[in-house]
């Protein structure tokens, strides 16, 4: 008869453990997500707006995720101009991103994924302020 009493407690504990685990997982995910985005406070670049009128975005900073496509031109003083393929609402686009000499330590190669912190320059050229791989 004693055995019947101990089996009533066990399901409660199991439910608590599962709930705790779920919460732990959710929390971990949230923490993980928030902790991986370095420029989470910077707005995404509106690709469509940029393509139609880049000059209107001059002086603003945006973040863009893309893949290095090719090096277009290099200047020791001003840096290297890359084409970066991005995915936007309008489909695949290629943006010109100027990587200044300060970021020359980055060994950029075609096909690498980067998140760029970009400033829209005077002529609408995107100037990379920060870059984060991945």
């Amino acid at each position: 008869m004693a055995r019947r009493a101990s089996s009533k407690i066990r399901p409660l504990w199991i439910a608590c453990i599962v709930g705790a685990l779920v919460l732990a997982v959710i929390g971990g995910i949230v923490v993980q997500n928030q902790g991986g985005d370095a420029f989470r406070t910077v707005p995404e670049l509106d690709i469509g707006e940029y393509l139609s009128n880049a000059n209107s975005l001059r002086g603003n900073n945006y973040k863009v995720k893309g893949v290095i496509s090719q090096s277009l031109l290099y200047s020791r003083e001003t840096g290297r101009l890359y084409s970066v393929e991005v995915n936007g609402s309008g489909g695949d686009n290629v943006l010109p991103v100027l990587v200044p000499p300060e970021l020359s330590y980055l060994n950029l190669q075609k096909g690498q994924h980067y998140t760029f912190l970009l400033e829209v320059g005077d002529a609408g050229i995107l100037l990379a302020r920060k870059m984060q791989k991945g």
Binding site: A54, S69, S83, L95, G124, L126
Partner: protein
């Protein structure tokens, strides 16, 4: 037809009646040589020596020319004043002959009566019937004859001459009587003078008179005789002078009337009024029955008469010549009628024209029916037309006339005109062929020379007209092509120029400036065509973007080419997305939206990596981006 040896002389003399000043020379005037046709004929004192070409020859101021006119009936050539004419090619003769051929036969009552009257006059004056009575009758009939229109008042002139002679004769009688009276007076004067010389009586001086006194007395005696005889001697001299003057008057009067009468006969002869010549010569013989009948004519005419008739010019010679001419005219008319019946119009017309030249006023010619004459007229007109056509080298018309004449006159000799026509046609065709070759080869000098020669040979050659039209139309085409070229050039319609480039190459051959312009146009069009071909080949591979880029690049240099624009439009549709991308990039670049523009160029390059537009745009803007960057 037997001809009298006198006939050439007759023809020669009567021909002077024609007004030859208006004639057309048959051949260039050869002052130094007579024409071949006239050469065998007995030439008058004539031509070579008297021509004006010999400066050593003294000037001959004969009236109406430098020699006696001469007609060679064998060659129908009339010679006068160093010039030669064919009597059938004579405007005045032709006009006169045609007028005669169109005239009605003179068969009216008046004509019949006139001819009867003339025959009667001639008959009354003939040697077989002549008498003082018949002479007077004939004289009285002259005014009657003169009343007829056909006489042209010539009988009046004859009557006046006869009357003048008779008047002169009466004057002669009066002069004879005056001379008789003067002779009587002379005798009286002579007697009185002799008497006066005998009656001289002065008181004699005594024997004691000295020698001086006797000499004085003799002198006074002589002076007294002279004074007494003087009136008689003077009168005697006057009478002798008057007698001699009267004698001279008589001789002069007779000679003057003779010369006047002869002049009238010669005038009738030159007028070819042979019946009047006969009347006049018969009157002459009746009036001047005895004595010299030699014509008092100039040396030239006298020599001419002598050389052509073999006789000195006398009234009888004129009479014979007139009778011979009349006979010849009658014979000519008979021959005409006979030949007309045989439908040998050429010979018939020639015989009639010869008869007309000699005996225009002969009854046989005047009474020829108009219907008969009209046949000769038709032939004459066509013959004259043929001569004119050959003269102006209208060989087409000449050929037609020859064929017509062959149909109408079976004796028409076409050998000479046909030879002239065929020769001219052949030679002209040869020159035209050379001209055509020269035209093809572009040898303008030879073309002009050959055309000129061909034109001179046969001015109305239809082939010449066709060739000229062709050449001139070519010139028109060339001119029009040049105008079109200038117009298309101003419109920048190089495509049209390119489509007609063969035409314009030929047209601008002589215009270096246009040649350069055309060369540039053709080079540009070659570029366009090459681009279009390349575009077409690329499009065939399914590369519409590349095809579009090819025509798009070319069209920037040649925006007006329709064919290029058409291809561009077509390919724009095929490569719409790519075109849109490039266009957007270009537009943004134009707005200095370099970032946006570069992004579009990059997009375009991603769409079509070989894109030249994208490549150059990226390169251009990339440099700008790096340079602009602070």
């Amino acid at each position: 037809m037997k001809r009298s040896p006198l006939l050439p002389g007759v023809l020669a003399i009567v021909a002077v009646a024609l007004t030859v000043r208006a004639q057309v020379p048959d051949a260039p005037v050869q002052n130094s040589a007579p024409p071949p046709a006239a050469a065998p004929a007995p030439a008058p004192a004539a031509a070579p020596a008297s021509s004006g070409s010999n400066p050593a020859a003294p000037p001959n101021n004969n009236f109406l020319g430098k020699d006696v006119p001469f007609l060679d009936p064998a060659g129908e050539v009339f010679s006068w004043d160093g010039k030669h004419w064919n009597v059938n090619n004579n405007r005045i003769f032709s006009a006169r002959f045609e007028k005669y051929l169109n005239a009605e036969a003179e068969n009216t009552d008046a004509n019949v009566r006139y001819r009867a009257l003339v025959r009667s006059i001639i008959d009354k004056l003939s040697p077989y019937h002549i008498s003082p009575g018949s002479l007077d009758e004939a004289f009285r009939m002259l005014p009657q004859a003169s009343g007829f229109e056909a006489d042209a008042n010539l009988s009046d002139a004859l009557a006046a001459s006869v009357y003048s002679v008779w008047q002169a004769r009466r004057e002669d009688v009066r002069l004879v009587q005056a001379n008789n009276a003067l002779e009587q007076e002379r005798r009286a004067a002579q007697h009185n003078a002799e008497m006066s010389a005998g009656e001289t009586n002065l008181t004699p001086i005594g024997p004691r008179a000295s020698g001086a006194e006797q000499a004085q007395w003799a002198k006074q005696q002589e002076m007294r005789r002279t004074i007494q005889m003087e009136p008689y001697i003077s009168r005697l001299a006057e009478i002798r002078a008057m007698t001699n003057a009267n004698r001279a008057k008589r001789e002069l009067s007779e000679l003057q009337t003779k010369i006047e009468f002869q002049a009238l006969i010669v005038q009738f002869f030159f007028q070819r009024r042979f019946q009047h010549v006969l009347m006049a010569t018969q009157f002459y013989r009746a009036i001047f029955g005895e004595g010299d009948t030699t014509l008092k004519v100039g040396k030239e005419t006298e020599k001419f008469f002598s050389s052509t008739t073999g006789m000195p010019p006398t009234v009888s010679v004129l009479d014979s010549l007139a009778r011979e001419a009349m006979r010849d005219a009658r014979e000519g008319v008979e021959a005409y009628k006979f030949l007309l019946g045989k439908n040998e119009l050429e010979s018939a017309t020639k015989r009639l024209s010869e008869a007309f030249v000699v005996g225009e006023f002969m009854p046989e010619l005047r009474t020829l029916p108009r219907a008969d004459k009209r046949q000769a007229l038709a032939f004459t007109q066509k013959s004259n037309q043929l001569l004119s056509a050959l003269e102006v080298k209208d060989y087409t018309l000449a050929m037609k006339l020859v064929l017509d004449l062959e149909t109408t006159a079976k004796d028409f000799d076409n050998s000479k005109p046909m030879a002239a026509i065929e020769t001219a046609k052949t030679v002209s065709a040869m020159h035209l062929a050379k001209a055509k070759n020269a035209a093809v080869n572009g040898d303008r000098a030879i073309l002009e020379a050959e055309l000129k020669t061909a034109t001179e040979l046969w001015p109305r050659n239809p082939a010449l007209s066709e060739l000229s039209t062709s050449i001139f139309s070519q010139a028109d085409v060339q001119q029009k092509a040049l105008i079109d070229f200038d117009q298309l050039l101003s419109q920048r319609n190089y495509r049209q120029i390119y489509d007609d480039y063969v035409r314009f190459i030929a047209a601008t051959a002589n215009s270096p400036e246009r040649q350069e312009q055309l060369k540039k146009v053709l080079a540009d069009m070659k570029t366009i065509e090459t681009a279009l071909e390349r575009s077409s080949e690329i499009a065939k591979r399914g590369d519409n973007y590349g095809a579009w880029e090819t025509v798009e690049q070319t069209s920037k240099n040649f925006p007006d080419d329709t064919k290029l624009n058409q291809a561009r439009a077509n390919l724009t549709t095929e490569a719409a997305e790519f075109v849109h991308t490039i266009r957007t990039a270009e537009q943004l670049e134009g707005k200095q939206q370099y970032g946006s523009s570069l992004a579009w160029y990059l997009k375009a390059q991603k769409m079509y990596p070989p894109s030249e537009y994208a490549h150059t745009g990226i390169e251009r803007l990339a440099k700008l981006a790096l340079g602009d960057h602070p």
